[in-house]
Symmetry: C2
Subunit: 217 residues, 2 copies
Amino acid sequence: MIPTITAFERSPDRGKGLARDMRVRWALEEAGQPYEVRLVSFSAMKEPAHRALHPFGQIPTYEEGNLALFESGAIVLHIAEHHAGLLPDEANARARAIAWMFAAVNTVEPPILELQTAKLLEGDKPWTEQRLPLVLDRIRHRLGELSVRLGDADWLDGAFSVGDLMMIGVLLRLRASGLLDEYPNLAAYVARGEARPAYKRAFASQWAVFAGSRLPT
Amino acid sequence: MIPTITAFERSPDRGKGLARDMRVRWALEEAGQPYEVRLVSFSAMKEPAHRALHPFGQIPTYEEGNLALFESGAIVLHIAEHHAGLLPDEANARARAIAWMFAAVNTVEPPILELQTAKLLEGDKPWTEQRLPLVLDRIRHRLGELSVRLGDADWLDGAFSVGDLMMIGVLLRLRASGLLDEYPNLAAYVARGEARPAYKRAFASQWAVFAGSRLPT
């Protein structure tokens, strides 16, 4: 059965691939799993029909037969559990790959979300100029630790896994800030992710949505 | 094999059970799995020996034979996958329980972490008094959505699962703020979690560490 995911009707990042549907698209492409996309407007996201799928009124969601899921991490893990190539076969390596997924969303992403909040929701506040350096330093703290752990390895723990997919999906959100460039091995790590054919296909699909939304109607 | 977890040698919350080892202790108690605890000082957490276990120099970690894990979400999921009672048997219900785990750590916890950061790391800044109401409102936004979804159910999706365990673990961090009391069904939900015998055993264990650390040496 071909799953259906949801994505923004009009991408707030103008097709840069930073919305969380990108992580799910990437996982589906790595898995070689065809999928359909239902685009959702900002107003429809907050209506009961969509909230039945996603209690927090966001994207992405994932529907496959009787299963409805939300949360990009959970969807990506579900895909990885049902297709080869995204989780190691060996039990301990599998558990460690899942640990990196949680590290991506619960340790590395929160300070990055704080930066987004500072810019998008508090950009006009009198304190933001003074406060931003503190927020950036908290991100640097995490990036420094991640950079040390990655060292000169290609991926976080052996072969590419969903742990890398989620971590790179999170780190990509930093590109515009320039912070990634302060950690050359992390910048190269992200670039390795972007160079994967599955990533490129996923990126092209979400870009097509954005390009289409710009067409005169 | 009895696993070993790590916890703070001196609990920064003075035994209130808000550190992330509590989630792991609770899961182990629900699973009926004995465990050992190795206490780690703040300085030892940042040293190479501990960073080999936890790249971000935090607690908890989990060691079991050749397996070493970090990230409370990953550890709790690992425990749930290897013991009965924390994940539904039915495949779709299992995937939804995992979705709630990710919702806890990636959707509900980030604004709560922002509040902690505002108080602990920016408490002395001139903007904090003016800024705190914005941070609190962002938490309220998420709590309101969660409250609507929970409704008058006991747990988030059928029987108690690791999804509830992680969500309650996250919500508990709000107790001191009084925000939970604005959502009576969420306050009752958290109280139901705390009333579970496994929670009580886990709480007592971490409390004993704090009480012991107060003894004159």
